[in-house]
């Protein structure tokens, strides 16, 4: 049995999670504190992947990332390879697709920290960055854990968007969900069973972890 889809899936999920934690933090921070009028619009855009069929997102991404489009063309010039039907393209797609799964837990963690706590930090002489690193981060650890786990798991479960922009190239862009699809198509039920059961157990464990973390009473600001 070819295990490369498992390996590619894990790599994709890890890269996506790492990038999203970095990118999602400032977005979630802005959403948590901004009073700007465009905030609801930004919030809606961030939540779009939750309601859009992955094929819609995949279709637009395919348009944007293809070597004929400006973004895809620029990438081709810079890196020498196309974004479409490549691992890098998969990462771009996954990052967009899983954005709300990172931003929403972080945003609610930041809101929970509260303006009062930030004010307290300022009166103790802590600069904004200092406040973030030494007050907000320790108070939001659970939010970060939930965000990371959800993002990772959601990326593992991707199908439509991957198929649209990554195709099905074994050893390169063939992830688990697509490998299962292919095994079923070619009536290789035994392999499909192994991969599916593995994914099922993985998903259950992840969700169990998230709900256990969410259920436990965490740090509260007095």
């Amino acid at each position: 049995m070819d295990l490369s889809p498992v390996w590619i899936t894990l790599q994709l999920a890890a890269a996506t999670t790492l990038i999203l934690l970095l990118v999602g933090t400032p977005i979630a921070w802005w959403l948590a504190w901004s009073q700007a009028r465009v905030r609801p619009a930004v919030e809606a855009v961030v939540a779009l992947p939750l309601v859009l069929p992955p094929t819609v997102l995949g279709f637009y991404l395919l348009m944007l990332l293809s070597p004929q489009a400006w973004l895809g063309g620029w990438w081709l010039q810079v890196s020498g390879s196309a974004l479409t039907f490549s691992f890098a393209g998969l990462v771009v797609g996954s990052v967009l697709y899983s954005l709300p799964f990172t931003v929403q837990p972080l945003q609610s963690a930041f809101v929970n920290v509260g303006r009062e706590t930030l004010e307290m930090g300022a009166t103790l002489g802590a600069s904004p960055l200092d406040r973030f690193l030494h007050i907000v981060l320790p108070l939001s650890l659970r939010g970060y854990l939930v965000a990371a786990v959800l993002t990772f798991a959601h990326t593992v479960g991707e199908f439509g968007i991957v198929l649209m922009i990554g195709g099905n190239i074994p050893g390169k862009t063939q992830v688990l969900s697509i490998a299962i699809y292919e095994q079923v198509e070619t009536i290789q039920y035994a392999t499909a069973h192994v991969l599916s059961a593995g994914l099922l157990i993985f998903s259950f464990v992840v969700l169990l972890l998230v709900y256990t973390l969410n259920g436990r009473r965490g740090f509260r600001v007095s």
Partner: protein, 365 residues
């Protein structure tokens, strides 16, 4: 050490505009008194730089902290203020020592002699250092918050109703700590509260706010003598404060004699140190009036005095009197009916009968 804090500010609040032009002469404790919604906290937050959206100018000594015209707005963490909030706001993920270390690491004036051990001792935190904030009582939390604010080594400490979350017993236990901090560490404080008793116990100067405007700003003693301020007159804690000296002890009867200029006052107990300077507080509802020196009376403290002012507001059953005892002014609250029956008038020589004298011996100054 006297520092000036000049605050000029305007800000619209719900229902009225906070509009102030005040120069604080900061030494000891300055109180800001007023009912809730008068703008006290808004003023304090403006001094700390916690809110945006006001116009005006705030200058602390030589440093310009805020000027809406010149677009100057020094961020809170660069202003040399410590702030104690109503709710202590301790960091929940670290113990008491961790909370104090957080402040000390960021302290802005390392040269100033506010020493860790000294702060911990003064606020009796030694036994609490390893405890988590969640396990502390309200009073203990507030003591940690005070220590933490002090360890940032501020040039000005702002306290926003730090006792309001506490019951009366805890309040009484915390007051001496706050008084001690201001003298021991000589950090000027601005203390916001709606409770006159806290002001009487703590402050040296008092600013009274009503609907966003300053209606009195003077020494606490002088503000307490004002009969025209309902913030003072309507309070159960209205009264007078005096500086007195312990001059004698009667060990047989266990009474101490205090001198108030030429007058003497007797207080039970011998705990006061001979010749010590103490602060006395006499509530107006503890002072009755007699036209002649009374006999056959259990009250020990009877002072000859002269009526200086009478405020017999028709909206209340009571009248407020100001009495000159030779070396200070005493307040008395008696019924308007008594004023009429005794035919009291300004200038009359009368006797003040004092039921209770409160002695604050932590305030030796």
């Amino acid at each position: 050490m006297m520092t000036t804090l000049a605050v000029q500010m305007a800000r619209s609040l719900s229902g009225f505009t906070l509009s102030l032009d005040v120069k604080f002469s900061l030494s000891g404790i300055t109180g800001i008194l007023g009912p809730s919604g008068a703008g006290k906290t808004t003023l304090l937050r403006a001094i700390a730089g916690l809110d945006a959206g006001q116009t005006g100018r705030i200058q602390f000594a030589d440093a310009l902290w805020f000027d809406s015209e010149q677009q100057v707005n020094l961020p809170t963490h660069k202003r040399a203020v410590g702030y104690v909030f109503q709710d202590a706001r301790l960091l929940p993920f670290t113990d008491v020592a961790g909370n104090l270390r957080f402040a000390e690491k960021r302290s802005r004036h390392r040269a100033r002699l506010i020493d860790w051990d000294d702060v911990v001792d003064t606020l009796d935190l030694g036994a609490l250092l390893k405890r988590m904030p969640q396990s502390l009582s309200g009073g203990e939390r507030q003591r940690v918050a005070l220590a933490r604010a002090l360890l940032t080594r501020p040039q000005l400490l702002l306290l926003d109703e730090p006792l309001s979350a506490n019951d009366i017993q805890r309040k009484k236990a915390l007051l001496p700590y706050i008084r001690k901090l201001s003298t021991h560490f000589s950090v000027p404080m601005i203390y916001v509260s709606h409770a006159l008793d806290e002001m009487v116990a703590l402050t040296d100067r008092l600013l009274v706010l009503r609907e966003g405007e300053s209606i009195a700003h003077d020494t606490t003693e002088a503000v307490l003598q004002r009969l025209d301020l309902r913030e003072v007159s309507a309070s159960r804690d209205a009264g007078a404060i005096f500086a007195a000296t312990v001059v004698a002890h009667d060990t047989a009867l266990q009474l101490s004699t205090l001198s108030l200029g030429a007058q003497h006052i007797f207080v039970p107990g011998l705990s006061l140190v001979m010749n010590a300077a103490v602060r006395l507080q006499i509530h107006s509802h503890d002072v009755a009036i007699a036209l002649a020196a009374p006999s056959g009376l259990s009250i020990r403290n009877v002072l000859p005095c002269r009526v200086v002012a009478i405020d017999a507001d028709h909206g209340s059953p009571f009248a407020e009197l100001l009495l000159d005892i030779g070396d200070g002014l005493l307040r008395s609250r008696i019924t308007r009916a008594s004023v009429l029956e005794l035919k009291l008038a300004v200038g009359d020589a009368v006797y003040a009968l004092i039921k209770t004298v409160l002695v604050d011996n932590t305030s030796a100054s």
